[in-house]
Amino acid sequence: MNKELEHSFVTNLEQNQNIVHKVCRIYTSDPDSHNDLFQEITIQLWKAYPKFRGDAKFSTWMYRVALNTAITLYRRSKRSLKTTDIDTISFKIKAEDYDDEVEQQLKLMYAAVKQLNDIEKALVFLYLEDKSYKEIADTMGISEVNARVKMNRVKTKLKKILNP
């Protein structure tokens, strides 16, 4: 029974690992911390898996656990780099897709997102993942109105970081 559960979990996670990697990208700045956070999220997902009954999609269920781990449960093993240096951000922008100006703008955007606090990062992450305000509110445990207001505030904050 346990082996079966392990197999179905690992297979599910292997197929949906992008979600976890993206959370790690937002919350960490170097490969070591990325792996460390990925590891902890995997453990938390595994611990919660027996209660996963398939009433939601596995991926939907993952968002909660992954974000909760990044925001609340994860204990940074070492001081994480608080860098705003746009060359060290962990996002890779394919230069051939954009002209120079847009490419530069994207780099600055990713660097700006890194400067947000943990809660704001979660909001931006869910927004980028195309989640509705209802889903954002449910995941964070706040009202939909509050989620909207907070999101607007994050947008303003990002603008301020980009155009000081």
């Binding site: 292997e14 890779k92 927004y127």
Partner: protein, 207 residues
């Protein structure tokens, strides 16, 4: 906002450059132990319970208890022990019930509240113990001074002035309680600083 829309478009492309872990690599991960804050809170809380629970045993082992017996304070000591074990059991049950509620599948806010509540239970336990300990210390002193023959019978000039005894006892109690409080503030503070900051941020209603 144009920039955020731009980011949203690029965000999907990020998937192409994300790492890909194999089945085996993920399988290895589930065999490892968590190092989450909840695990730490659990370990530290258990240590706190054990430390306070063992005080009674330490007193017996170091001979403090024998002195209590000589001075006819057995009933007093028995009540104190029963009281402190009763408190211990009550708090352990509450701690367990709270700990059991912590689920990573809850919403972020509920999860944070449950962790904070669990930690608070242990904090209350510590405070109840400090209060009990201070009361016992002062109570014992009062008993020794006013009700034991030893003190009453000794010559007046041998006795330290009453105000000195009382001040010393109160002073020692305050220092002791203060040190413990400081220690817990540090441990508690380091463990939950980020959690509390994030909780405040989440609770803050932007209007």
């Amino acid at each position: 906002m144009d920039e955020l829309e731009l980011l949203k478009k690029d965000w999907k492309k990020q998937e192409e450059v994300l790492p890909k872990l194999s089945y085996q690599e993920i399988y290895q991960m589930i065999l490892k132990k968590s190092s989450s804050i909840v695990r730490w809170i659990f370990i530290i809380s258990i240590i706190e319970f054990l430390l306070w629970a063992s005080l009674d045993i330490i007193f017996r082992a170091t001979g403090v208890h024998d002195e209590v017996e000589i001075k006819n304070m057995e009933t007093f000591s028995l009540i104190a022990s029963l009281l402190s074990y009763g408190i211990l059991i009550y708090f352990i049950v509450r701690f367990y019930l709270n700990y059991d509620k912590i689920q990573s599948t809850d919403s972020t806010k509920v999860l944070m509240e449950n962790i904070i509540r669990t930690r608070r239970t242990v904090k209350h336990y510590i405070w109840v113990n400090i209060s009990l300990f201070s009361t016992l210390m002062i109570g014992t002193m009062v008993y020794l001074v006013f009700f034991t023959d030893e003190f009453q019978r000794s010559a007046a000039e041998e006795q330290p002035p009453l105000w000195l005894i009382i001040t010393t006892t109160v002073f020692m109690t305050i220092i002791f309680a203060g040190l413990i409080a400081l220690f817990y503030r540090l441990v508690y503070g380091i463990l939950t600083r980020r959690l509390k900051r994030n909780y405040k941020e989440l609770e803050k209603l932007e209007v």
